[in-house]
């Protein structure tokens, strides 16, 4: 055969560049964006838990939280005041749900939303506080 060949190196460089760029785009596009709101929400949940566990009780009991979860009756009695108190502690743009052994207060947690969680062990069981941005 006696004719000129296509310069193969140029085809090779085109293929090579495509391969490398596809790997690079895989990194650039497939890594999820950092979830920056999560540490803040976790801090809000922890702070709410700390404030509630250190608050004196309104009627009887050692702390506000222990008083609320002491029994079914005390939970029913304190429910509204407890919910008001938590919504006052948290900023306006944050919603919450608190699950206690006797029931829950707050808004239902929407699906696929980033939440911050804090759990507090009490004598009557575990109290779980979840907060998220409205």
């Amino acid at each position: 055969m006696r004719r000129a060949q296509l310069p193969l190196s140029l085809i090779e460089v085109a293929l090579g560049a495509m391969l490398i760029l596809s790997v690079a785009f895989g990194f650039a596009l497939a890594t999820p964006a950092p979830e920056t709101s999560e540490p803040q929400l976790a801090a809000y949940a922890e702070d709410t838990a700390t404030i509630l566990t250190n608050e004196p009780a309104r009627h009887d009991g050692t702390t506000r939280l222990a008083e609320v979860v002491a029994s079914e009756r005390s939970f029913e009695r304190e429910r509204d005041a407890f919910e008001r108190r938590i919504s006052r502690i948290l900023p306006e743009n944050v919603l919450f749900r608190v699950e206690t052994p006797h029931g829950s207060v707050g808004t239902a947690i929407p699906r696929r939303v980033t939440t911050g969680t804090a759990t507090v062990p009490t004598g009557a069981g575990t109290v779980r506080i979840e907060v998220w941005y409205a």
């Binding site: 055969m1 006696r2 004719r3 000129a4 060949q5 310069p7 193969l8 190196s9 140029l10 090779e12 460089v13 090579g16 560049a17 490398i20 760029l21 790997v23 690079a24 990194f27 650039a28 890594t31 999820p32 964006a33 950092p34 979830e35 920056t36 999560e38 540490p39 803040q40 801090a43 809000y44 702070d47 709410t48 700390t50 404030i51 250190n54 004196p56 006052r88 502690i89 948290l90 900023p91």
Partner: protein, 232 residues
């Protein structure tokens, strides 16, 4: 076919890949590789969930709301008078990152300490209660006075008119002051902060309301937001 191409070397029977094309290919490939590595690196750095700035902000905020911080009264409760006395020197003491980063600490929007001047950066907000002591005055109704809980001491000033003797002062049925010939002067009474205290004055003779003055420091807590901004 007509003979050899003029640009081919002597003796060559077919076209060869030219050397400049190989050189160009190598240069292009190297450039693309370098670019891609840089891109991948920045993508992975961006995906770091706790970069230094955020870490420093979270750690500083954590230390400030702790029970043993210079601001703290209890966990997440800040002492109101300490927050006004807080400043750059104390911030550097509590938060070692302040040496390296510009840190700004604000309480409900008022700057209470800063090292450097952060332009923007990462902010962590913490929910705290701000406790301030407020001096309350109380005049007993009849012969009893009720002091709300959370006050740990009260000052009672007794100045009975002639013909009246105040012999005993009880706090929740516990005798705290007693003098058979009548009490007069200023007395300090220790209280139990976890419960309300009812002071009862046992007198002989009429007790005008001006005879007794009670002063106590009641802690008042208000909700506040502590923000720590760190700019690397």
């Amino acid at each position: 076919m007509t003979g050899r191409e003029p640009n081919h070397g002597p003796g060559s029977q077919r076209g060869q890949t030219t050397l400049p094309a190989v050189g160009l290919a190598l240069v292009l490939l190297t450039a693309v590789t370098a670019l891609s590595v840089a891109m991948a690196d920045s993508a992975i750095t961006g995906a770091d969930r706790m970069p230094d700035e955020r870490r420093a902000a979270a750690a500083t905020a954590d230390r400030l709301v702790a029970a043993d911080s210079p601001l703290g009264e209890r966990a997440n409760v800040l002492n109101g008078s300490q927050t006004t006395a807080f400043g750059e020197a104390k911030l550097r003491q509590v938060a070692p990152p302040a040496e390296e980063y510009a840190i700004d600490v604000t309480l409900d929007g008022d700057r209470i300490a800063s090292s450097g001047d952060p332009v923007d950066g990462t902010t962590i907000r913490r929910l705290v209660l701000l406790e301030r002591l407020r001096t309350e005055r109380l005049v007993p109704e009849g012969s009893t006075a009720t002091i709300p809980r959370r006050a740990d001491a009260a000052t009672v000033t007794i100045s009975p008119p002639d013909g009246t003797a105040i012999r005993t002062v009880r706090a929740n049925d516990r005798v705290v002051l007693h003098n058979d010939s009548g009490l007069e002067g200023t007395f300090e009474i220790a209280l139990v902060p976890s419960r309300t205290t009812t002071l009862r004055f046992q007198t002989a003779g009429a007790l005008p309301s001006s005879a007794i003055r009670i002063v106590y420091d009641a802690p008042r807590t208000t909700k506040a937001t502590l923000s720590v901004t760190v700019d690397a």
